[in-house]
Symmetry: C3
Subunit: 205 residues, 3 copies
Amino acid sequence: MLLIAFYIAIAAEAMTAALAAGRRNMDWFGVCLIACVTALGGGTLRDILLDHYPLVWVENPYLLLLVCGAALLTIPLARLVDRLKWPFLLLDALGLVVFTVIGCNIGMEAGVHPIIVIVAGMVTGTAGGILRDVLCNDIPLIFRGELYATVSMITGTIYFLGLTAGLPDNLMILASVIIGFTLRFLALVFNWEMPKFVYDREMRK
Amino acid sequence: MLLIAFYIAIAAEAMTAALAAGRRNMDWFGVCLIACVTALGGGTLRDILLDHYPLVWVENPYLLLLVCGAALLTIPLARLVDRLKWPFLLLDALGLVVFTVIGCNIGMEAGVHPIIVIVAGMVTGTAGGILRDVLCNDIPLIFRGELYATVSMITGTIYFLGLTAGLPDNLMILASVIIGFTLRFLALVFNWEMPKFVYDREMRK
Amino acid sequence: MLLIAFYIAIAAEAMTAALAAGRRNMDWFGVCLIACVTALGGGTLRDILLDHYPLVWVENPYLLLLVCGAALLTIPLARLVDRLKWPFLLLDALGLVVFTVIGCNIGMEAGVHPIIVIVAGMVTGTAGGILRDVLCNDIPLIFRGELYATVSMITGTIYFLGLTAGLPDNLMILASVIIGFTLRFLALVFNWEMPKFVYDREMRK
């Protein structure tokens, strides 16, 4: 079930990334690249940081075809995808929490410190979007809008604490995904944001 | 022969990268950094993704001297290099196909799936330019101009299929380099481009 | 002693990075991310390039807490930190040379070529600031201001040559840190800069 949610989330991330590429008038290769980086970049960065090889998409290259297929399919369907703003925000929220749980899982398998388990979940959930914004030449968006990385951190913490307390894996996956998803949904509805640090003076010469 | 083409291509990439750094008024260290990232970044990223260590330039650090030397030499010669636009576009095309073939080779040695072999070639051929554009704060150019990543994909596919069909390595290197180079040349002459995905609406709030 | 200087430098890098994030109105998570990337990104990139695992902060995750704590502490203290421009420039200079020496050390342990030892020091000392500028969507600053990467290169070279000549490690740490720090200080006071390569023509079509 987590696997099905994973594939759906990958495809949804690819489609929203394709729209971001389209807004910058990229060609079809650019669309595929941005989609791959967004959908698979978080897990790739996590695996590089944890020295966890082979990478997911190197072991299972059909993921690349899924991502590129979903991205290219977005081109003729752009207006439709546009109208489906809320479904895609929800799929993106699903991706965020599913990626986070998978990332925490891999961190725990690697036997790292609890803090790093949570970080592995957050990197998996959020780094794809950051890399997309870097390639599209934006200041990463996720640190200025509704709760996003926070949702990832809370989801990962609940999942990790539950497993550490000896609760069954399936229950904790379900619980942390539902809680994280709900939290992100509420954040979108009520515009919950992290406090911002607004600072105007130039310090460096 | 591939090795000679490799060194020539490395130097040519370093020189065009130096001009890009010069357009942003970087100092000599910036020129060297941008040159190293452009000329060696593709192979470095490929090796990190495939867990293929030591990196080429860590094993053979004289490559760094070659790159920095070519980049610094570009400074007094900028006007000359400027006038030599076509020779450099051709050297860049040579680099693209040579890097691609080398990348596919390393992918095949690593025993990865055919799709990943092609991807390894494409990363080697194109990622240096993408990293250069990210460091220079541009939206990566290669996804908006004449066929570039496509040439890399076709070159890699021909090379891989030929080897898989049992044809001799030297023949396939020659054939794929010539075909890829010709294709890139024709794309430059006739302005062949990938279709673009132009999309104007904002989807996110 | 090097370790104490290391922690102080990490915290100082985190605080100046937090100000950079504040200038872009990032939220608290963005502040922590930029601080982590700036303070720990250089060492992380070095370790990835040298295949030197586990990463420093994966092995010692309390570093992440130190960095995030220093970054968040900067928020209420921003005006004070602003007024302390010189102390922070000096702490940044300390960080530059300390990170460089540590990076050279790890390079020598890994048994790489002398050129790569110096490069490992430079990556450790300077890459964090470059990554920060990429995430903040700036052209990296360090290649346009007072001597910075040069200081790192000289510091690393002195340290490496001293050790190779058989001088005791502690003496060479002290000597290279003092010389490097003084050099950076003088560069700031007298505005010593590398020559710039200013080039205006567009070469590519």
